[in-house]
């Protein structure tokens, strides 16, 4: 590939790689070879660059990500795209626990299955999981969308605030204060947009096959009588 800088982690250090990614200007293109489960690969990107990682990565890959696009051809361990702010992080394989944890924006796509607590404390990130999501996914989720094309394990959306969850398959159980909600046209639109955005990594799916889940808003308000007022104030 022309114009692509290649870092072979069998020889180069991860610090060299991440330093180069941090120094890169918009339009930079990078390829990472032999990650072999290394931690913190492609962390802290802030520029509009493209990074392709050929192989499986360890913890915290593409953490604190902004603007650029990271594609991992393989699996990712704990904390994939943790605290992502914007941009896109995709993996073709499975992610272990806490994928996209605390993410504030951007898009995270997991081609395979996501492990436990996917989207824990998500604050605006959009997540699309091609397979199943592990237990306690979207735990304390505050904003954003979690799309699960397969099944969701136990305690989905426990203590959820205002994030939306879309699941195509079975939900083993819903966590505290998480309930099924009506799929209104705007939700179908959102879902269709996210599935389209994930299409390069996740097989297409019909939004009509999904069900929506969200907060019953019984848990996080001190006074239950305030629910309607808060909802009006938030324009929901």
């Amino acid at each position: 590939m022309s114009g692509v800088r290649t870092f072979d982690l069998a020889e180069a250090t991860r610090r060299d790689l991440n330093g180069a990614l941090h120094a890169a200007g918009a339009g930079g293109r990078f390829e990472v070879l032999n990650p072999r489960g290394a931690h913190a690969v492609a962390c802290g990107i802030t520029a509009d660059i493209d990074v392709v990682v050929r192989g499986s990565v360890g913890y915290y890959c593409a953490g604190m990500h902004q603007r650029g696009r990271v594609l991992v051809e393989g699996n990712a361990s704990t904390g994939l795209a943790e605290n992502i702010m914007s941009g896109t992080v995709r993996i073709t394989g499975n992610a272990t626990m806490s994928a996209a944890a605390t993410g504030c924006g951007g898009l995270v796509v997991v081609g395979g299955n996501a492990g436990a607590r996917c989207g824990i404390s998500m604050k605006g990130v959009d997540i699309v999981v091609g397979g199943d999501a592990g237990h306690m996914s979207a735990f304390m989720a505050q904003a954003g969308n979690l799309v699960v094309c397969g099944d969701a394990a136990a305690d989905l959306g426990d203590s959820i605030y205002e994030a939306r969850i879309f699941v195509r398959g079975d939900v083993e159980s819903l966590g505290a204060d998480c309930v099924e909600k009506e799929m209104r046209p705007e939700h179908v639109d959102t879902l269709a947009r996210l599935l389209a955005a994930a299409a390069s990594t996740v097989e297409g799916a019909d939004p009509a096959e999904f069900r929506r889940y969200g907060s019953a808003r019984r848990l996080y308000n001190f006074n239950i009588d305030d629910v309607d007022a808060l909802a009006r104030a938030a324009g929901r």
Binding site: G37, V57, G58, S77, N94, T96, A116
Partner: protein
């Protein structure tokens, strides 16, 4: 934080290099537990013959005299092979009786394991040096467990290092901490288990030994563990004919599993698996909370 690894050879293909591959995995987990390390490996051994691995750290033991006295107790021949501060006793006699006799009669030693297939070594210090000193790389066999320890619940000592094995060919490595181990230890002592440390993980090993000695399969024993053990755990477990993995219902202690036609490997981190032959094409997943995974040599 601790690092655990387990490797189970489903076929003959890698059994000649079981130790070498386990050492490669252990090295990758060095950062997770630089205090101390240990490993257990299983090989077929000789039919009917039990090996007892004993630690004699910082003490001189007259092994010939111990073997002689033990022969009288077991009414069977006992041979001894010294490996640095460890010794492997071998006998046709009853391994459980031998273990208890050594605990009761040989001062300042710790019985690390007994069984027809298991040998177990552990020491304080850099995991790489521990592997080298006890020649992990040369070990052949069917499965192995190893552990790098960052001590939280008890002191950095060899005796507090993993793996733990209290019953025949039953061994575990643990990442986590148990909160009901004191009461459970007393309960198990009442059922004939004996312990040599104050360590929480030794109690988990004793629990499985008790259940298996009482007739449970490894799956039944682990089903019981889910209700009787309180705390955080990711376990890798070895038994005579198999290998198992269990995580607690919250599952916050990391674990990743990879499987090919030839092997199953589990570790705290994928990088320990990444260097195994065929890892690139292995099926890789995160074991689910409170789900029992077992692999059997018989299968």
């Amino acid at each position: 934080m601790c690092g655990i690894v387990g490797l189970f050879c489903k076929t003959e293909t890698h059994r000649h290099e079981l130790g070498r591959l386990t050492a490669v995995m252990l090295r990758e987990m060095r950062d997770r537990g630089p205090d101390s390390a240990g490993f257990a490996s299983y090989d077929p051994g000789e039919p009917g013959r039990t090996r007892i691995t004993v630690l004699a750290e910082g003490v001189e033991v007259d092994w010939a005299a111990v073997a002689g006295a033990l022969e009288g107790v077991l009414d069977a021949a006992v041979t001894v092979r010294a490996v640095h501060d460890h010794a492997v006793l071998s006998t046709d006699g009853d391994g459980r009786v031998a273990r208890q006799w050594i605990i009761d009669n040989v001062a300042d030693v710790t019985v690390l394991s007994y069984g027809a297939q298991i040998e177990l070594y552990k020491a304080v210090g850099d995991p790489d040096l521990v592997a080298e000193r006890y020649d992990l790389a040369s070990r052949r066999g069917t499965h192995a467990l190893a552990h790098t320890r960052m001590a939280t619940e008890s002191a950095v000592t060899t005796r507090g290092s993993h793996p733990f094995a209290t019953g025949a060919d039953t061994c575990l490595v643990h990442n986590g901490s148990l909160s009901n181990h004191n009461r459970l230890r007393r309960h198990l002592e009442g059922h004939g288990e004996s312990f040599q440390t104050e360590n929480d993980s030794e109690v988990a090993a004793g629990y499985l030994s008790w259940r298996i000695r009482s007739g449970d399969s490894i799956s039944q024993a682990l089903q019981g563990a889910l209700s009787d053990l309180d705390g955080f755990y990711t376990f890798a477990i070895g038994v005579a004919d198999g290998f198992a993995i269990l995580r607690d219902p919250i599952a916050c202690k990391p674990a990743v599993v990879a499987e090919t036609d030839d092997w199953v490997a589990m570790s705290s981190e994928y990088r320990a698996i990444a260097r195994l032959p065929g890892a690139v094409d292995a099926e890789v997943w995160e074991p689910e909370p409170a789900r029992i995974y077992t692999w059997s040599l018989a299968a």
